[in-house]
Every structure is written in structure tokens, then in C-alpha cells.
Amino acid sequence: MLKKALLAGVAMSAIATSAMAAGLSGDKVVVGVLTDLSSIYADVAGKGSIAAAELAVADYGGKVLGKPIEILTADHQNKADIASNIAREWIDAKGADVLVDLVTSSVGLAVQGIGGEKGVVTINSGAATVRLSQKECTATSFHWIYDTYSLAHVTTPTVVAEGGDSWFILTADYAFGHSLEGDASNVLKDLGAKLVGTVRHPFPSTDLSSFLLQAQASGAKVVALANAGQDTINSVKQASEFGIVAGGQKLVALLAFLSDIHSIGLELGQGLLVTTGFYWDMDDEARAFSKRFFEKFGKMPTMVQASVYSSTLHYLRSVEAAGTDDGKTVAAKMKELPIKDPVLRNATIGANGRVIHDMYLMQVKAPSESTSEWDLYKPVKTVPGAQAFQDPKQSGCALAQ
């Protein structure tokens, strides 16, 4: 009774038959897009991620090994327990073969664990925690486009090299903020740059003015924001109000997505330095892909959404090449095959599931420099993957020792 209602609402195919032989389980490939549709990451991932996955499936031709591809979608509402339940149900009852997006660190860790337990591929595009490719890696886990380690290792050295040798870090007081701050300060130490001070603000905070005032008073050349989402948006807006950039300090957001900058607006965000794994306008291939994404979705893709496209496409190619959708086999194939898509450049996958590719430091344009609604960044530097990401051998992942 109740189960019928659940199935009807979710399943795109009415009947799930189970096929035994090597080949595709259930005679189809089931892609599960588990994302945040209604909470804080809805704009970073959300419906855009679903659109990206659909685009990837369509671009691949809608079939793999002659069999159909089914897409499941769900809103985990930023809650790890809802995500866990949905992941388990999709795997046990709906034959899910791969789970993508998985934004939010707690969700990412929980679902990756379930995927590892059940031999199902999990490709995380949304979560930032570097733990996904460290001790908690699994035989079927992947972390696709960015993590806290690479964000710190791209932004910090580049800014220091450009003269920003004294830093003040404003940190959101929770695990993500701490890890971002930790990574950044480690890099500062290695480079011999000065960490003038840090202050931790409660998460979440609407008013960062007190903390920004402290940053301003510190006289540091660089004010870095180790926070995300609404905290970052508020920090940038209020920094502008208090004239931090106008006063000569550089403002750096260690994690900001295209959707955040779009929300902040160029008037307030100009001059901000941001690291990203993908930008729609970075080269011809990216532009062509993003145009098609825009036609489908109405907004330019954030790096998370682009990553969902890239990872889904690579997964499908690997299934074709492996001739099966068995998790471990496909995962091994994914690490073997080169990644060729409009999203990643010079990409390889480490044994710990960490995708290593070029990352980009960008600066937010001034309003006068922008010619369209989404023309928000200008490139500052491209950092090769080997410099940006953690060496898999040092990650602590058992598969990469």
C-alpha cells in the first residue's frame, strides 16, 4: 500500500527485472542523483546537478551497452540521515549502480560509506571535505572536482606570490571552516608568510561586521574568508560596506561558487579572489558545453554542476568499456580510462579516487568589465593538478599506499 505510493512517485521504469549474468544488473544502468534541492546548497548543486546528469546521459546517447539508463533523483535536504536512507533504499530496492552529486560533507561521508559497504560507485562532486579521499576512501569512491586541500593550495601560494604575505583569516567555527583554515595556515607556514591573526565566527552568522573590523584593524595585507555559502556572501557584502578592499587589503574567499558571486553581485564582490575547478567562460570547450547547459537550465553551471556532468559521462564510458556495472570493476576502469570532457583539463584519477586536474584562481570583475549577467570572473592563474591536490600516497587511503 504505502510502498506502491513510494515506488510510483520515484521510479521512472515501472518494472524492475533482475538479470543474472555478467552484463548489467537489472538490464539497465541506474544513476542516482542525491542532492540538496531545498536547503543551503540548492543553488550550488540542486536542480542544476539533476540537469547536468540528464545532459550527460543525453550526450552519451541515452543507452549504454544497448540498455537504457535510468535517473533517480532525491532531495536529501542537507541531512545525512535522510541521505543515508535514500541511498540504502536506492541500492537495495531500486538497483542503483552509481550515486552522484552528494553535496554536503556529512552526506558525502555517510553515502560513501554505504557505497563502499555495498560495492556501489559513489562520485562526490559537491562536498568539500578532503576526508573523502583520505582514510575513509573506499574501493568505489571518487571525489571529483575540488576539496578543501586544493582550495587552500591554489589560492594561498598564488596570493602570497603576488605580494600578499601577511594574512588574517576569518573562519566559520565548524569542521569545514577549521579544515580550510588549517590547510591555508599550513601553506602559509611552508611559504614563510605571516599569519597575523585568526578569528572564528559562529556558524551561521548574519553579521560579520565585528570580525571584519578586527581583520581591518590587524593591518594584514590579505583578509581571507574560511567559510562558505551565506556566510561568505554576508562577509563579502559587509567587507565592502566597511571599505576593506577600498582600504587596500586584498579580500580572498577560500570557497565561493559561481552562484554565490552571482548573488553578491559585481558591485560588492569586485576584486575578490576565488579558486574554482571550472568556469563556463574559461575556454571554447567550456563555453560550448555551458551554452548547452544554459539552454537546458537557464543559469550557467557552477563547478559542482559541471562536475556532475563530467563524472556521470566518465562513469557511463567506463561501464561501456568494462562491459558490466559491477561497482568495483567499473571503479577500476574509471581510474584507468583518461578523462576527456569539456569540464576537466589534464585530469587523472589517483588510486584513492581523487581526481587530479587543473584548478584556476580567478578574480571577480568590476561592473564596468562585465558584459553579461554571468560574466563574473577574469582568470588570474592556472595551477596544475599535481600542485593543487594532495598526493594520493600521502592521503592515508589504504588503496594508495
Partner: protein, 295 residues
């Protein structure tokens, strides 16, 4: 002496001023809550959501109708007040005969609907609302750079709070209101239309929230969730001030803003629980709140 604490006095004054600015929002919002509670005996859980609606209406006025900040200051409280009147007339008034907890639950449900609705339509990244050009820039006070707009916020909130307090405590209409709170039947028998007064009170109370929303729009991000965590702090402020005391609500609002500002300097990680800690202490020492009377 300040050097002993490690903070130069200039920085301290800067933080105090910032705290006062935050306190303005606390004061305005707790004022509205206290007014509504005083008259209707209802805890308006939807207060945070209506504050959010006020900010969104301001944004909407600017985006779609090109009406700027000054229009918004007048129109938004009216719009939100009207919305409040509709809520009161169609739903809240049915619950007065029952336990007042149902009023709280109803407004909680309404808050969920409002917040969920805006979140669904506008997402959560927030909309930009520019600081009005009259207040652009700021002045260097020596101990800090004060954006003009923030100074305006403090001024306006003090004026509004004083005006409301005056209206309730010193005018005839206010005395009718206070009398109707004590003994509605008697006041009704004097020919004063108590139900209408109740409706208007709710409308005015939430209009205050709408006004706070407009004032917040340029400095805090306009997003669907802007009221939802704020409302809990405001509850704590009202409890500290003493339920039923308008003066208490306002004074506590400013005071707690300042205390929170100080905490951000000395112990920043605790700054979001300091209001609750103070609430606990006040409750243990003075259960009726600082300025409250037992009801």
C-alpha cells in the same frame, strides 16, 4: 588598562557601536513581539518570517517597480501589516478561546509556509539589495570606520521604539489597548471595539517586523531563511526583558546587542550562545525577566 585585556580602546568602542547596531534589530523585533504578546497573549512564531517578507517586499519593490528604499520604508510595513491582519482575521482569531499554545503552533505553521514558499521560489543564495545612495559610504570616527547606513539604522530604530512606547504608554489609544488587555469584556462594554483593536495590534506588531526587514535588506542578505535563526534569539531577548514589558523588550534588545558585540571581541566562538546563557541566568535569578511583571 585596556591593554591588559589585550584590546585597544578604539577597537572596543568600535565593537560596542556595532553591537548597538545589531541591538537595534533585536529591539525592533522584540518590540513587535512584546506588543503582540501583551495584547493577544500569543507568541508570534511567524515574526521572523514576516521580517523576511518585509525584506523581500523591499527587494521586489526595487527590482520590479523601481521603487527605492524610501518608498520601501513606508510601503513594506504596510504590506506586511496587511498580511498580518489577514492572518489574524482568518486564522488566529479562531484560536483565542482555546489554549494560547495553539496560537504559537499556528504561527509556527505559518512561518514554515512563508519560509518554505520563499525558499522554493527564490532559492537560498539570497538577493542583493543595495545600500540607498543617500547613505553610501561612511565616516571615519577615529576608532572605526562607520558606514552611514548603519548609523541611520540605530537612529531610526531608536525613534520608532520611542514612538511606539509613547503611543502605548502615553496616549489614549494606548490606554484603551492596555485596558483591553486587562479586561476585554469591560472595555468592550464601554463601546470600544476590542476585536478590531486586537486585529490592528497584530497588524502593527508585524508591521514593525516588516520595517526591521527593510532596514536589514541593505546590510544582511535578503534570503528566505534570514528570520528563522534570528527569531530564537529574539525570543530569548523578550524572555530576558520580561514578557509583557515593552520597555523591557526594547532595553534588553539594545543591551544584548552590545553584550553580544563584546563577546565577539573577547570570546568570539561563544557569541551565538551568549544571549541564551544570559537568559538562563536571568531566569534563575529573576524568573519574571528583568522588567517583567508576573502574569
Amino acid at each position: 588598562m585596556f591593554e591588559l585585556i589585550g584590546i585597544p580602546p578604539q577597537a572596543l568602542f568600535g565593537q560596542l557601536l556595532l553591537g548597538l547596531i545589531n541591538g537595534s534589530f533585536y529591539a525592533l523585533l522584540s518590540l513587535g513581539l512584546a506588543v503582540i504578546f501583551g495584547m493577544l497573549n500569543v507568541i508570534n512564531f511567524a515574526h521572523g518570517a514576516l521580517y523576511m517578507v518585509g525584506a523581500f517586499v523591499a527587494w521586489f519593490l526595487l527590482q520590479q517597480l523601481g521603487l527605492g528604499y524610501w518608498w520601501a520604508l513606508v510601503l513594506c510595513p504596510i504590506v506586511v501589516g496587511l498580511l498580518g491582519i489577514v492572518i489574524e482575521k482568518t486564522m488566529l482569531s479562531r484560536l483565542y478561546k482555546l489554549d494560547h499554545l495553539y496560537g504559537l503552533l499556528l504561527t509556527f505553521g505559518i512561518a514554515l509556509i512563508l519560509e518554505g514558499g520563499f525558499k522554493h521560489v527564490y532559492g537560498v543564495s539570497g538577493q542583493s539589495y543595495a545600500v540607498p545612495s543617500a547613505f553610501a559610504g561612511g565616516t571615519n570616527l577615529g576608532f572605526m570606520f562607520l558606514p552611514f547606513y548603519r548609523g541611520w539604522v540605530v537612529l531610526l530604530s531608536i525613534v520608532v521604539c520611542l514612538a511606539t512606547w509613547y503611543a502605548i504608554e502615553k496616549t489614549r489609544l494606548g490606554s484603551y489597548l492596555r485596558a483591553a488587555t486587562e479586561n476585554p469584556r469591560l472595555v468592550q462594554s464601554f463601546g470600544i471595539n476590542v476585536p478590531v483593536m486586537i486585529t490592528l495590534t497584530y497588524g502593527v506588531g508585524v508591521a514593525l517586523a516588516g520595517l526591521a526587514g527593510v532596514m536589514a535588506a541593505p546590510i544582511y542578505s535578503v534570503n528566505a531563511l534570514m528570520g528563522s535563526n534570528l527569531i530564537i534569539v529574539v525570543f530569548a531577548v523578550v524572555v530576558i526583558g520580561g514578557m509583557g514589558s515593552i520597555f523591557g523588550a526594547v532595553v534588553s534588545g539594545y543591551m544584548l546587542g552590545i553584550l553580544e558585540g563584546l563577546t565577539k571581541v573577547f570570546f568570539p566562538e561563544a557569541s551565538n550562545i551568549v544571549v541564551f546563557l544570559i537568559m538562563v541566568v536571568v531566569l534563575l535569578l529573576r524568573p519574571a525577566g528583568l522588567f517583567g511583571r508576573e502574569r
